[in-house]
C-alpha cells in the first residue's frame, strides 16, 4: 500500500498510479474459486459456447476486471479513506495472457455532507489502448487538518 493520500494533496487531472496485469488461465481459475463464478467461458478452451459466441479463446471475467479497478481505487483511498461508490461497464473482452492496464484520473474534488469527496474516471484498457472496462468512482479522503 502506497503512502496515505490526503484531500489537500489531490488535484483535478491527477492520474492514479496504474496497475498492469497479464492474467493467465491459472489466475482466472483462482478467481473462479474465489468468486464462485465457474463459467467455463473463462477456463475451458473446448467450451462449446466459445465458438457460438464467435470466440477462439477463453476470455477474462468481467468481474475480475472490476476487481482490478477496485484494487486501484482502494489503493488510492488508502486505509484511512473510504470508497463510497464505484462501477464499470464491460464494453470489450480481454484475453488471457494479454496485458491489461488499469488506470484512473481525478475528475473533481468537493466537500459534501462533512466528507472530502474525490470523483474519478477509472478504466481497464487492453494492449491496443481500448478502454474495455470504463467506469467511475467516488472516494472520501481524510484531511490533514
Amino acid at each position: 500500500m502506497a503512502d496515505q493520500m490526503y484531500f489537500e494533496d489531490v488535484k483535478e487531472g491527477q492520474e492514479l498510479a496504474p496497475i498492469k496485469i497479464s492474467p493467465d488461465k491459472s489466475q482466472l481459475v483462482k478467481f473462479a474459486a474465489g468468486s464462485g463464478d465457474f463459467n467455463p467461458l473463462h477456463f475451458d478452451e473446448k467450451f462449446p459456447m466459445l465458438k457460438a459466441m464467435g470466440l477462439s479463446d477463453n476470455i477474462v471475467h468481467g468481474r475480475f476486471k472490476y476487481a482490478q479497478v477496485g484494487r486501484l481505487v482502494f489503493a488510492f483511498a488508502g486505509y484511512k479513506g473510504r470508497v463510497k461508490k464505484f462501477g464499470v461497464n464491460y464494453r470489450g473482452m480481454d484475453m488471457p495472457n494479454k496485458e491489461i492496464t488499469v488506470g484512473g484520473v481525478v475528475t473533481a474534488k468537493r466537500q459534501e455532507g462533512g466528507e472530502n469527496l474525490v470523483d474519478l474516471d477509472v478504466w481497464a484498457q487492453d494492449v491496443d489502448g481500448k478502454k474495455t472496462t470504463p467506469g467511475t468512482a467516488t472516494v472520501a479522503l481524510p484531511s490533514k487538518g
Binding site: M1, I21, P23, Q27, K30, F31, A32, A33, G34, S35, G36, D37, F38, N39, P40, M49, A52, M53, G54, H61, G62, R63, F64, Y66, A67, Q68, G70, R71, V73, F74, A75, Y79, K80, R82, V83, K84, K85, F86, G87, V88, N89, Y90, G135
Partner: protein
C-alpha cells in the same frame, strides 16, 4: 426462439419484486480466497492482526468481493454460484450465451470478515438490443446488503447481465 423474444408486460410487472433474502457470511477464508483470486498481496485482506492495527474489525473484503455467493448444493446455480431463491422474477430467457454487462456498488460501510449480511434482490430493468449476432437482452438486478447484527444497510449493488 431467441430471435422472436420480446419483453412483455408480464416481465415488466416483475420489476421491484424481491426474492427470498439470502445470507452471505463474510469469512476470513472467503476474503483471502477472493484476494488471492484477484492477485492482491495487500496484507489488509489476509492478516487479521495487521487489519486490526489499521483500525478495521478484521481483514477487509476487497472491492468487488460483495456478491460472492455462499454455495449450498441444490440451492445455488452450479456454474455461476448465484442463489436460486424462491420468489423473485422468472423470465424464462431463451438465450444460451451470458456475459457480464456492468457492475456498480455503493458502499455505506467497509465489509470485513466476520460480517453476516442479508441480501435482498430484485429485477430493476430489461432492455432488448440488436447485436452483431442477433438480439441481446440486458437484465439489471439491484441488490441491497444489510448487516444482520446491526440492521444497517452496508452496500447496494446493481448488476447487469447480457443474454445473447
Amino acid at each position: 426462439m431467441a430471435d422472436e423474444f420480446e419483453i412483455t408486460d408480464e416481465m415488466r410487472a416483475q420489476f421491484g419484486v424481491d426474492g427470498t433474502p439470502w445470507t452471505y457470511e463474510v469469512t476470513t477464508t472467503s476474503v483471502r480466497m477472493y484476494a488471492r483470486g484477484i492477485g492482491s498481496d495487500d496484507p489488509i485482506h489476509y492478516d487479521v492482526d495487521f487489519a486490526k492495527s489499521q483500525g478495521f474489525r478484521s481483514i477487509v473484503a476487497p472491492l468487488g468481493y460483495i456478491g460472492t455467493p455462499v454455495f449450498l448444493p441444490g440451492k445455488n446455480d452450479p456454474t455461476f454460484g448465484f442463489p436460486r431463491r424462491e420468489g423473485g422474477p422468472r423470465l424464462n430467457i431463451p438465450f444460451k450465451g451470458l456475459l457480464d454487462g456492468g457492475t456498480e456498488t455503493e458502499y455505506l460501510d467497509v465489509i470485513c470478515a466476520g460480517d453476516v449480511l442479508e441480501e435482498t434482490s430484485h429485477l430493476a430493468d430489461l432492455k432488448l438490443r440488436d447485436g452483431p449476432r442477433g438480439k441481446m437482452l440486458f437484465v439489471t438486478n439491484e441488490a441491497v446488503y444489510t448487516d444482520k447484527a446491526t440492521g444497517k444497510v452496508v452496500a447496494k449493488q446493481k448488476l447487469t447481465s447480457i443474454h445473447m
